[in-house]
Symmetry: C2
Subunit: 344 residues, 2 copies
């Protein structure tokens, strides 16, 4: 920085994020696993998300949403940052913009100014899939052969890639979406890497599967507990695919961060907790398993469910790598808070 | 927007914010008063700030700080946004950057993408002063003649301008700062508008003043209650200038938002509340006075203290005006989240 008074930073649009490795799922898996480890080692400060919801006047369903997710990554990283997310059902209806769109800001702590502002939409999709992949690595049976993917949207795609990379022993990949075209698109994209079979029903996908990943926007449960194979691992990245019974009958419930779940009403897990059907000791944080402080899979027959809330530290650890790569490649647009500060 | 898939927004550096009217205190006073009114009319959604503090290992005093302040402005404005603030004592030591540096993001709710990202450092200083000015308008004696300003930093400067504009009957302006050079700089800047007298001590400034505004970084109280004139109005924009007794003996305590004060430990008011020395009914929100739902000044002899927490809605309402002006003037740098979205 030639002029110390000029707080420069870079802006990375989505194309820059991609050029800097934002789509690299192998790296994202390592990033997110690191975030979980750091979190367990108290190297992360991560307040609860702040959600502002704008329900539809008629349906009462949420229509718009903003979420602020600040966090601090300590350890060797030492970076403050925030993801600022917005969601709009209008975008889905129109079809020209993603449902959720995100910005990520990385901050220099000592100098208190931004280092990077970047599109966080792509990183959100990547890190969400990566969290499912990390959970699968620690919680699925190592001899898992068959995986079922329910929902073939953006998160469905990233979750499939992450789980396929995390469990290299998988040989059968089934996918189902109400919109077959979406399933076809994913099968085609990954055709050189994994044999993905489009199946005709949820039941056909789920029955006999060792790994089941769900990422739909349903408001009604549609997966029956009776379809689930003994010893299977379930990554529930959507919110409502399973009935309460399916969760209560599971041998182990694991989440990314129970403390945040407890405060977020729309989650089924939260509702179960508030109704007294679950207590604190019934749900395990994934980081405890990763750090070997708690047992994850102890029997071949146990059914384990992983539920994801989505954490700021996952976003920021990926964003930090993307930022470092972008810097070394000279990517992005240089901006500054000012040329000369009006006041000091 | 020619390409609906390309979510464009503008970046406004501080020079753009200034060119778009960011320094205009008259407009900022109207903005902040509007924000208080909207807040009182339930047109604002404003979760508590999320603060991450990094205390110094040796002193235990905070060294770095990040604050995320999301809010929604409803009514005719209908805008979501966030201020993301960071503070570093290192900047003060080095002297090349402000203590606090801020970004403000304004969001289109229906399309869920940013409309503007701008320097929020200047707006933070302006709106903080403006809040003191609005409070003075409603709580100071209308016949106030003499004003004392303790602290001649950036907030001292904006507070002086705001109070001087809000109380046009003021004829005597006293200023004190440990650093006389700073007082001189403010006196010189405003020399054509208001006669500002640099005084030699806090006591000399405060005694006999009808309006007292404090904005220092002191950790120790230094203003004695005995110095305060009957009927005076105090705007305490700093945190620790007054002893608890001075607050307890006041005839009325008014804040910008009691709900947020109650949760923020570093505030003396919060500590008094937690110690049971204050109860909920003892503190009034300024918006209640502005909307005529509660009495502010009822007697000429009453001493009224206003304490400021600083609210996201104050930042966003100023930022929204600056954004609209910048748009109409064609200011700022055009950016986009992407040229074409990788995923929809």
């Amino acid at each position: 920085m030639t002029n110390s008074k000029k707080p420069e930073f870079i802006y990375l649009k989505q194309e820059d994020v991609i050029a800097a490795g934002g789509l690299d799922m192998k790296l994202a898996l390592a990033d997110v696993e690191l975030a979980f480890k750091m979190h367990g080692q108290d190297e992360i400060i991560q307040p609860n998300k702040t959600v502002i919801e704008f329900p539809d006047q008629e349906s009462g369903q949420r229509r718009y949403l903003t979420v602020s997710m600040p966090a601090y990554l300590g350890g060797q990283i030492n970076r403050a940052g925030i993801k600022w997310a917005a969601e709009s059902v209008d975008n889905v209806r129109r079809g020209d913009l993603p449902y959720g769109m995100d910005l990520i800001i990385l901050h220099d702590l000592e100098r208190a100014h931004p280092l990077a502002i970047m599109d966080g939409t792509l990183i959100t999709a990547i890190r969400t899939g990566a969290a499912a992949g990390v959970a699968a690595k620690y919680l699925a049976r190592p001899d898992s052969k068959t995986a079922a993917f329910i929902g073939a949207g953006v998160i469905g795609r990233t979750t499939l890639e992450a789980i396929a990379l995390s469990l290299p022993g998988l040989t059968e990949f089934r996918i189902f979406d109400l919109n077959t075209e979406k399933s076809r698109s994913i099968a085609k994209e990954f055709s050189g890497r994994w044999p993905i079979k489009i199946v005709a029903s949820v039941q056909e996908a789920v029955e006999g599967a060792d790994v089941i990943a769900t990422m739909t926007t349903t408001r009604q449960p549609f997966i029956e507990a009776a379809w689930l194979k003994k010893g299977c691992f379930v990554a529930a990245m959507g919110k409502n695919e399973f009935e309460e019974e399916a969760l209560l009958e599971a041998d182990l419930l694991v989440v990314d961060e129970w403390e945040q779940f407890k405060h977020y009403q729309p989650s089924l897990l939260t509702q179960m907790y508030q109704a007294g059907h679950l207590k604190d000791g019934d749900v395990l944080n994934l980081r405890e398993v990763i750090l070997n402080r708690a047992s994850g899979r102890t029997t071949a027959a146990g059914r384990i469910h992983f539920l994801s809330f989505g954490l700021a530290c996952e976003d920021l650890v990926v964003a930090e790598r993307v930022y470092q790569t972008a810097q070394s490649m000279g990517l992005g647009q240089s901006l500054s808070l000012w040329d000369r500060p009006h006041w000091l």
